[in-house]
């Protein structure tokens, strides 16, 4: 009921400068069986004050992409391609320089807030630690002023500033996490499933806070979620990820009302919403990313698959309405792939997928 946030700007009509730009970004993990191509050639850009939603099933590389953008990757992983933050390619920077950017320039909001907060430290101490890491000479008064300011936006009363994490409810802890990320005012933030552990009413409160970040801080936000409803309500643009690739990206309204890629369409159809009148699902499961299928990675599960899909990897093309998608079937439908011969357009005889071969 407390409406603390006022909407000052309408970022959809006011796209700001490009904050983050990925070109052919790859993140691979080393395993005994060979490299896992968790993110395999992803390109997109994110503007100031814009929210880009990232959806896809589990195991499609969403979280790896999110962490890869921040540089929070485990041992035995490597990034390649280009990743520009305000024009500077971060992949060419020294590890120490990359480290300094985390927090200050690149923020991250995790799924489980309680595991990220130190149970022995008061909230005020969390803020002091965060702020001092990036500015050793910051005064106590300044720490308190900046902390209380961001807590106000998150709707946490100043009476709780010296409380411990366990004294807060689940939703309040997630607000604290967001506050701890935002107190450094990073221009770019990744939120990885920030509401998955929360109840629907609290989830809606958190989504509203994230949605209002662009008005309050002009943050560029990458919102990773498996919930298409959240994407529809909170995001300006949406990127659909499958098997390490962005298979479709575009304006959220356009992608939801006119999905180009069959994966996007089937994902939308399989979501159970209040308007669901029949149950739909995608057969099979996302592929093993050590050895993804040849051609289009989605072809073994795709109801629209053609002969060409099993052999040639589709090219990303821009479609009417502004969405970009990589799909042969969508290309033909929109008259974009004239060079592929007629014979290649015959429906693909797909192998039967067993009912139980599912995610």
């Amino acid at each position: 009921m407390t409406d603390i946030v006022d909407e000052r700007v309408d970022p959809v009509n006011m796209p700001g400068d490009v904050v983050l730009e990925a070109r052919d970004l790859r993140v691979w993990y080393a395993t005994d069986r060979g490299p896992v191509r968790a993110v395999d050639g992803v390109s997109f850009e994110l503007h100031e004050g814009e929210i880009l939603g990232l959806v896809g099933e589990s195991g499609c590389g969403k979280s790896t992409l999110g962490r890869g953008l921040i540089g929070l990757l485990p041992e035995g992983s490597a990034r390649d391609g280009e990743l520009r933050f305000r024009g500077t390619d971060m992949l060419t920077l020294k590890p120490r320089e990359q480290h300094a950017m985390r927090g200050r320039d690149l923020g991250m909001i995790f799924q489980e807030p309680l595991t990220r907060l130190n149970p022995l430290m008061r909230i005020s101490e969390h803020f002091a630690e965060t702020l001092k890491t990036h500015d050793k000479s910051i005064s106590k008064a300044e720490i308190e002023r900046r902390s209380l300011d961001v807590l106000r936006v998150m709707g946490i009363p100043p009476t709780r500033f010296h409380a411990y994490p366990h004294e807060f409810s689940g939703g309040m802890r997630q607000r604290l996490m967001i506050a701890l990320t935002l107190v450094l005012r990073p221009p770019f933030v990744v939120a990885d499933e920030p509401t998955t552990a929360l109840d629907v009413l609290v989830e809606a409160q958190i989504i509203r806070i994230l949605h209002d970040l662009r008005a309050n801080y002009r943050t560029a936000l990458l919102l990773i979620t498996h919930n298409l409803g959240i994407i529809a309500e909170a995001c300006d643009r949406v990127a659909v990820m499958y098997a390490g690739e962005i298979v479709e990206i575009g304006d959220a309204r356009e992608v939801f009302s006119r999905p180009k890629h069959p994966y996007t369409r089937e994902l939308l159809r399989s979501t159970i919403s209040l308007r669901t009148t029949g149950l739909n699902f995608i057969e099979g499961a996302p592929p093993d990313l050590v050895e993804p299928p040849p051609g289009c990675h989605f072809h073994p599960r795709c109801p629209d698959a053609m002969k060409v899909c099993a052999t040639r990897h589709p090219v990303e093309r821009e479609h009417a309405g502004g969405s970009r998608a990589q799909c042969w079937a969508a290309d033909f439908k929109d008259g974009l792939a004239a060079d592929v011969p007629e014979s290649e357009r015959a429906p693909l005889n797909r192998e039967e997928i067993s009912v139980a071969d599912e995610a």
């Binding site: 009921m1 407390t2 409406d3 603390i4 099933e57 589990s58 209380l148 300011d149 106000r152 709707g155 946490i156 009363p157 100043p158 009476t159 709780r160 409810s169 689940g170 309040m172 109840d199 629907v200 009413l201 609290v202 989830e203 809606a204 409160q205 989504i207 509203r208 949605h211 498996h226 919930n227 298409l228 409803g229 959240i230 994407i231 529809a232 309500e233 909170a234 959220a252 309204r253 939801f256 009302s257 089937e266 994902l267 399989s270 159970i272 919403s273 209040l274 308007r275 669901t276 009148t277 029949g278 149950l279 739909n280 699902f281 995608i282 067993s354 009912v355 139980a356 599912e358 995610a359």
Partner: protein, 436 residues
Amino acid sequence: MPTKPEILSSSPTGRSEVVLDIDQLAVHFQLQGGALSRLFGLKARRVRAVDGVSVSLKRGEVLGLVGESGSGKSTFGRALLGLVPATDGRITYHSQDRGERRVSEMRGAELRQLRTDLQMVFQDPHAALNPSMTIEEAVGHPLVIHKIASGKALKTQVAAALERVGLSPVERFLPKYPSDLSGGQKQRAVIARAIILNPEVLVADEPVSMLDMSVRAKILQLMLDLKQEMGLTYVYITHDLASAKYFCDRIAIMYLGRIVEIGPTAEIFENPRHPYTKALLKAIPEPDPDRMVPRDLPRGEIPDAAEPPLGCSFHPRCAEAIEGCGWESRDLRTLIEEHWTRKVEAYDDEKAVIGDLGSLDQPSTTARIGAGGAGQVRALLDRIKAEKPDEPLWKGVRDIEDAGNAVEVHFVPADAPKLRRAGGVDVACVLYPDES
């Protein structure tokens, strides 16, 4: 495309018989107090997880229990199977073969026997399966425990159950360990284990919420198919109203251990009555880009079940609350804190006027606040009221009295509203006149 099957609210003979009758069920948990409080004989705190729930389950229906975490829906589901003992009230199971049985009074062997008729599917299939048991062992385990089958007969029945839940070719899955299977496959195995004893009632506690969205529909479809084939009755526990809308014949909305609204699914969704039901419906994120982030949602979170709010449990978050909803001291604390959240700059000065807020934590219809003179406290309360004049709490203030350096705010006392008939549903809310 599979569509929603006809509602089977009655048995094949057309009679609408009750299979489980729950009467004023209460499940309370005693919290361990500290050594000191026990020494001084202080009252140990009790969490009222389920607090007087009455509902009857008809044979062949799907009853949905919907609520947030902490609403008591899972405890209720467990109590139905005797997995947690009932503190009060009665659960009566009308068995098709064995007549009437009192679940709430059963112990030990009797309860184990009951599990051949009442079974449960848990939320996390990974935690529900023993990692060192193969699928064959896990699914066949109930038959072994109840000494129903062994040897070849056991293997045949396990294979039939796996076939039934779609885990075929069966030979491929029998020797697998849970860690070899995907989430959806594990949940199928858990369902196979639950149906292998041919139960009458299946309590499914969030059976799809841990699964990827691309398989949720598949598992729900499987459950609908099994219901048709085996004549099962379901209690479907979930926080997800969208799947409940599709899956259930009747829905009970739970909040803090009580049912606040119960009725046929269509009526609940077309004409929600309880403010909590309305809020839940509004909060569901819909994959519709024309919908914007909802702004008028209830504040706060589900309160502590050990110290529930006075009056109606939902009143502190309710947008439609009126004077007789049970306003009290803790609500005043929330209001003052909200004011300071908005006006951080005034916090230090005003805190001196208000003094310690700790005294407001004891639930009471009389709230005593202030340390800096009654006049100043009154002026501050007036300022807070002026910021948000339509704040429902003020409706519940009967009067404000000076008390030395402080003031005493008296609220209108209220009882928790009972379920009453309103249109086609039962709702526990003072906004609807009690017709009984």
